[in-house]
């Protein structure tokens, strides 16, 4: 095992745990914020149930702005806000706010797209039954779009893994932080390899779980 001389397994373990915490924490908030935002985007768009052209244009613009800012820049720009929310801009806690802000608009768009895939005939049938908008959203749109939304959650989770690794740049902690501090800055290639392999395994597992859930809920 001469090759892995630089690897401190305890530290790897801690970093893995940090990465999972960052992923879990940011994913929960991303879903909590992105799902309603995606539903709102869908409902206010042209020819939809709550058509609101001005509101839609405004929401859409904000989403596009956030999505066009490179994540590294967002990380740095957000530092004051992050300190306000999390009390620190460092470590696991400091990484979560920028991750959520970076991923929410992305996820909201995926939700919007998934909702648009729902057959209009189903909305029409619901209206013909006398459903109000809330009943249509919870009774028809979200259940019917569930496979699409789960696929969106999977893609978002994987994006969050790579964003979380990037937050290592500003001292975010986790596997990315380890890779940058040891693997890159101190040329410890073995640390780099181990962290990348772990990240790869994480992505694989996430994709596998996601695919399973999508198939389970597709009912086709």
């Amino acid at each position: 095992m001469a090759f892995f001389t630089n690897v401190d397994w305890a530290e790897i373990g801690q970093a893995s745990l940090d990465t999972l915490t960052m992923l879990g924490g940011s994913l929960i908030f991303t879903i909590l914020l992105g799902l309603p935002l995606g539903v709102l985007l869908f409902l206010t768009a042209r020819r939809q149930l709550l058509e609101q052209p001005i509101l839609y244009a405004a929401l859409s613009f904000v989403v596009n702005v956030l999505r066009s800012v490179p994540f590294v820049i967002l990380l740095i720009v957000m530092i004051p806000l992050t300190v306000l929310i999390a009390g620190t801009s460092l470590g696991v806690a400091g990484a979560i706010p920028p991750l959520v802000v970076g991923a929410t608009p992305f996820f909201a768009r995926l939700v919007e797209t998934a909702l648009r895939e729902v057959d209009r005939g189903i909305i029409e049938a619901a209206q013909a039954m006398g459903a109000d908008t809330k009943q249509i959203v919870f009774g028809a749109l979200l259940p019917e779009a569930r496979p699409g939304i789960l696929a969106g959650v999977t893609v978002t989770a994987i994006t969050l893994v790579s964003y979380a690794a990037m937050s290592g740049v500003i001292g975010g902690g986790g596997l990315g932080d380890l890779a940058i501090r040891f693997g890159y800055q101190r040329f410890q290639t073995d640390v780099m390899v181990v962290t990348v392999l772990l990240l790869l395994a994480l992505v694989q597992v996430l994709q596998m779980i996601g695919d399973r859930l999508v198939i389970h809920y597709s009912r086709k």
Partner: protein
């Protein structure tokens, strides 16, 4: 009773108003099966969607039991819609829900107690004969089974009106027949008003009491099915009837061109269909006749026959008068 009063409906397409319905005045009686037939784009769906206000009229009024639905508030409109069932060509079932859950959905929307929903859903599933499929998802059902779920779902809240937009167009002839029979049974049992869109005369003939023929956004012919079917007047109606009968009107007359004598079309309905009238009259008046074309069939519950006959020799006028007197409709073709 559903009344359309001077309805106009146009759609705004690329800054132009495209008329879809132009001056519709129509009354649909409670308890009848009312057919609406017309070619694609005639405005059938638009007309039916005015009843539950999925489309709003550009002008005119829609009255249901003398209530102007266009004047209802949003919540009153939702309450009214809970009393109008609708079924669709492509079924529009929730793919993510089982048969049971699909049928329970309108009841939830209407605010039924959970304890009341379960037995009602079981009752509806039994009524449409899907007991073995209660826990399947729509993707696991055939088209005919899906439409039965659609019917059960549409009737779960005990509506007085059922709207059917091309409800059998995606089904094969045999399945179409079984779905139509189910609708006819339900119409009789519940005195349900059924408004049924189709572009097939056979569907109209099988279950409708009255029919309106729509063309270019107007009602061009309206009446009891037997009347419209046996004596179609408007070219569009004639087209549908002859298509259903697999006859080519002009071709047929060409074939008869060389037949001597007077060409007459006789229409029998009801009991006269099976009476030996033609033979009796021939003996009485000494005419000769040859039958050139003919059919005997049913319109809903009424048997009818229609014969194209060439009369020669004897007292033809007396024969025609006798036939008329005995309840046949006599049309001289040549």
């Amino acid at each position: 009773m559903i009344q359309f009063q001077n309805i106009q409906k146009s759609f705004r397409v690329a800054d132009r108003d495209v008329p879809a319905l132009q001056g519709i005045d129509l009354e649909i009686e409670a308890g009848e099966v009312f057919g609406i037939i017309g070619h694609s784009g005639a405005g059938k769906s638009t007309l039916v969607r005015l009843i539950n206000l999925l489309e709003r009229p550009s002008a005119g009024q829609v009255l249901i039991d003398n209530i102007d639905v266009t004047a209802l508030s949003a919540s009153a409109l939702r309450a009214m819609r809970q009393n109008i069932g609708m079924i669709f060509q492509h079924f529009n079932l929730l793919a993510s829900k089982t048969v049971t859950e699909n049928i329970a959905w309108p009841l939830k929307i209407a605010g039924w107690e959970a304890a009341a929903i379960a037995p009602r859903v079981r009752e509806m599933i039994a009524r449409v004969g899907l007991q073995e499929h209660a826990h399947k998802y729509p993707a696991q059902l055939s088209g005919g089974q899906k439409q039965r779920v659609g019917i059960a779902r549409a009737l779960a809240t005990r509506p007085k009106i059922l709207l059917c937009d091309e409800a059998t167009s995606a089904l094969d002839p045999q399945t179409t027949r079984s779905v139509l029979d189910l609708l006819a049974d339900i119409n009789r049992e519940l005195r349900l008003t059924i408004v049924l869109i189709t572009h097939e005369m056979d569907v109209v003939r099988r279950i409708c009491d009255r029919v309106a023929v729509l063309d270019g956004g107007r009602v061009v012919e309206l009446g009891p099915v037997a009347e419209v079917f046996l004596h179609p007047k408007h070219p569009t109606t004639r087209g549908f009837v002859f298509e259903a009968e697999h006859v080519d009107e002009t071709e047929q007359y060409d074939d008869f061109a060389h037949v001597p004598g007077r060409l007459v079309r006789l229409t029998f309905t009801g009991d006269t269909t099976y009476a030996p009238l033609l033979g009796e009259v021939a003996r009485d008046t000494g005419i000769d006749f040859s039958i050139l074309a003919g059919r005997i069939d049913r319109i809903k519950d009424t048997p009818y026959g229609q014969l194209t006959v060439a009369f020669s020799a004897g007292d033809i006028d007396a024969a025609l008068a006798q036939l008329s007197a005995r309840g046949l409709s006599v049309e001289e073709l040549r």
